[in-house]
């Protein structure tokens, strides 16, 4: 059996013993899967991102972004908009990190800042399917994108529902579309429910959400999934290929102070935006690391499309708990194959942090 070096850094056991702390990712209670894999038969494929089929296309991959900007959504947008591999055909927004009003304004702010106001923005759900909206202003501030000073916006959202817009774009594209989910999955769930005939025209849904172990909004739930657990359940159970970029990988998407200086040195619109987004969080580091507590989660979902090689992916069955007393919004990942259900999701188990930072820096350079 082969173990990926990504699951745990070389010599981590000795380090853990000596220092009494687990290495980087494990300090966040994510990432130590080596013992579990040891117990597991290798029936489940472990793959690296290089096998990801989308990259093999020579054409640009048609992509629709759906999110709730949000600092990390903004970084994700920078990464997607600068990539030569994908063509961003639109951006739909959803309530989540902040209200729908804020997230749609923020999406337009970011697009205007980087000179891509040509990308249409479309408003979707103002609240989860069945739950009350709870915004994350404790993280993203009152505006949902506190920090950078944006000029007043000059564009307006398209007069169309997010799900109708998605359907139109997916239907109108010869190739299969990749959906990137960066917020609660409300819009995508409604789109999937309303358009069963278009499921086959979705190449893949790459989403930021969930965790194989742990959570950030409850002990077992990540914010995007927790916010609209029913929508997430609909999306995960839809039978469409999914790449789940959860906290196991995205918690490692953090810059160091040196990285921050590097972004400040990038004198482009992209560089200035990302640096000022990061500045909002620069005062705190994650316990046990030299990483700044800058959330970059959503950018990993875009990385799964444009540079999947930075991720370690594992096929397993995933669904979402919507009924537990304590576990609602938990992405239940069957890493050991104990449920006997066929894998339906590629779960990002780990992230090559340096490669990811390089990727984002290169993206910033490109967005003059």
């Amino acid at each position: 059996m082969v173990f990926s070096p990504f699951f745990a850094p070389e010599g981590w056991e000795a380090k853990a013993k000596k220092e009494g702390v687990l290495p980087c990712g494990m300090a966040l209670r994510q990432g130590d899967f080596s013992c579990i894999l040891k117990e597991t038969s290798d029936a489940l494929l472990r793959r690296t991102g290089e096998e990801f089929e989308a990259v093999k296309t020579t054409e640009k991959i048609p992509v629709l972004l759906d999110g709730d900007p949000g600092h990390d959504d903004a970084m994700a947008m920078v990464l997607a908009l600068s990539s030569d591999l994908v063509e961003v055909r639109g951006m739909t927004v959803v309530a989540g990190n902040s209200t729908l009003q804020n997230t749609s304004r923020n999406a337009i702010r970011v697009l205007e800042w980087v000179g891509r106001a040509d990308v249409p923005v479309c408003q979707g759900a103002a609240r989860p399917l069945m739950r009350r909206l709870e915004i994350a202003d404790s993280v993203h501030g009152e505006s949902g994108l506190d920090g950078p000073v944006f000029p007043p916006i000059t564009h307006a959202p398209v007069e169309q529902n997010a799900w109708d817009f998605m359907a139109e774009k997916v239907r109108g594209c010869e190739e299969k579309t990749v959906l990137v989910g960066m917020g609660p999955l409300t819009n995508i769930a409604i789109f999937l429910l309303a358009n069963p005939e278009l499921h086959q025209k979705i190449a893949r849904i790459c989403l930021m959400g969930g965790a194989a172990v742990g959570g950030n909004w409850t002990p077992t739930a990540e914010f995007n999934i927790w916010e609209d657990a029913e929508a997430a359940r609909i999306v995960f159970d839809a039978g469409i290929p999914i790449t789940m970029c959860g906290l196991d990988a995205t918690n490692k998407a953090r810059p160091t102070l040196d990285d921050l200086a590097r972004f400040h040195a990038i004198d482009t619109r992209g560089g200035r935006l990302v640096a000022s987004l990061m500045d909002f969080f620069k005062d705190r580091t994650l316990p046990g690391t030299d990483w700044l507590e800058v959330p970059m989660h959503d950018a990993v979902a875009v990385a799964a499309v444009v540079a999947p090689q930075v991720l370690t992916l594992r096929d397993c069955h995933v669904t979402v708990d919507i009924e537990g007393e304590h576990t609602q919004g938990c992405t239940v990942c069957d890493l050991r194959g104990v449920t006997g259900k066929a894998p339906n999701v590629q779960v990002a188990m780990d992230l090559d942090r340096e490669a990811f930072i390089d990727l984002l820096a290169a993206a910033c350079e490109k967005l003059k």
């Binding site: 009494g20 013992c35 002990p219 576990t327």
Partner: protein, 311 residues
């Protein structure tokens, strides 16, 4: 050093047998009773096994039969891992001792009163007996110094994606125990998985002849064959032994205090021990959760155990 008075609530169980043998060999534990419960296999096996181990290991402890099923859920057992008889097919000599007349919960209460607040419980099976004790005797709480339990996981489970067997079998019992206010040490899969002993390590451990070699080797050979049948890496995790070791040798695990609760409702997550690692709920910690284990230390304790039975 004064011995720690302890009741071993167990479901022997292959790793239970190692754990009980380890407890005896340590010389640090005053084993006040064994209280078998239905778990790895049914009570009809675990109770006679506990009695037989009591005799075979010369514990001289009272054995009080416990629950033959979980509180509310239907009974589930795991004979594949533990053998039909629970001891991997090892047949121990017929015991000369007999069961206590009182059931497990009465034995536990009696000992708790007698030990005046010093009694510890090592619970290495489903927590049914402990929960029934707490329900029948709510006044026992200040009399139990600590419950060290093998069960649960803050990470990945073994019976379901996130639930560990002992808790999954009787999540309601775990809920009662977690809410009891008694100090708890949870030795879950996160820690026990770090004490995977390879076939080579087990062979080396059991190479010296000792009085109980037929038991230990029999169990190991059963497990080795079982792993081979399933095509899994050869070796064994002695989950329960780690929990017992943690009672008298706390440095064998590293714990952190957290708030923990047991999921009893979600059909996907039933039996998951939800540990609030990110402190999102801002509740008082109620469980010392084992975050990691010292494999070498446990191995050394097991070597001492083998040496003990050589004399």
């Amino acid at each position: 050093m004064k011995k720690i008075p302890v009741i071993i609530d167990c479901d022997p169980g292959t790793d239970d047998a190692f754990a009980i043998a380890l407890a005896k060999s340590s010389g640090r534990l005053d084993i006040r009773a064994l209280t078998p419960v239905s778990g790895n296999v049914g009570l009809e096996h675990t109770a006679p096994n506990a009695l037989a181990l009591n005799d075979y290991l010369d514990l001289g402890a009272p054995v009080g039969k416990g629950a033959d099923r979980p509180m509310i859920k239907e009974r589930v057992v795991n004979p594949a891992t533990h053998g039909e008889n629970g001891l991997g097919g090892v047949e121990l000599p017929a015991p000369r001792c007999t069961f206590e007349e009182d059931p497990a919960w009465d034995v536990i209460y009696r000992e708790a009163v007698a030990q005046k607040g010093e009694l510890e419980i090592a619970a290495i099976g489903p927590l049914t007996n402990i929960a029934i004790t707490l329900l029948k005797y709510p006044d026992i709480k200040p009399l139990i110094k600590r419950i060290t339990m093998m069960g649960g996981a803050w990470g990945v489970g073994n019976s379901t994606p996130y639930a560990e067997f002992n808790i999954w079998v009787d999540p309601h019992a775990c809920d009662v125990v977690f809410k009891s206010g008694i100090p708890i040490t949870m030795v879950g899969l996160d820690a026990t998985r770090q004490t995977f002993f390879t076939a080579e390590e087990m062979d080396r451990l059991l190479a010296p002849d000792c009085a109980i070699a037929p038991l230990l080797r029999g169990i190991w050979e059963y497990t080795r064959a079982q792993k081979a049948r399933e095509g899994r890496e050869s070796g064994i995790i002695l989950h329960d032994a780690l929990a017992i070791a943690a009672v008298y040798c706390p440095e064998v695990i590293r714990t952190e205090p957290y708030f923990a609760t047991c999921e009893v409702r979600g059909s996907l997550t039933e039996g998951q021990t939800v540990v609030d690692l990110p402190n999102r709920w801002k509740k008082e910690p109620n469980v010392d959760v084992a975050m990691s284990a010292d494999k070498e230390k446990l191995y050394a304790l097991l070597q001492e155990m083998v040496a003990f039975y050589q004399n």
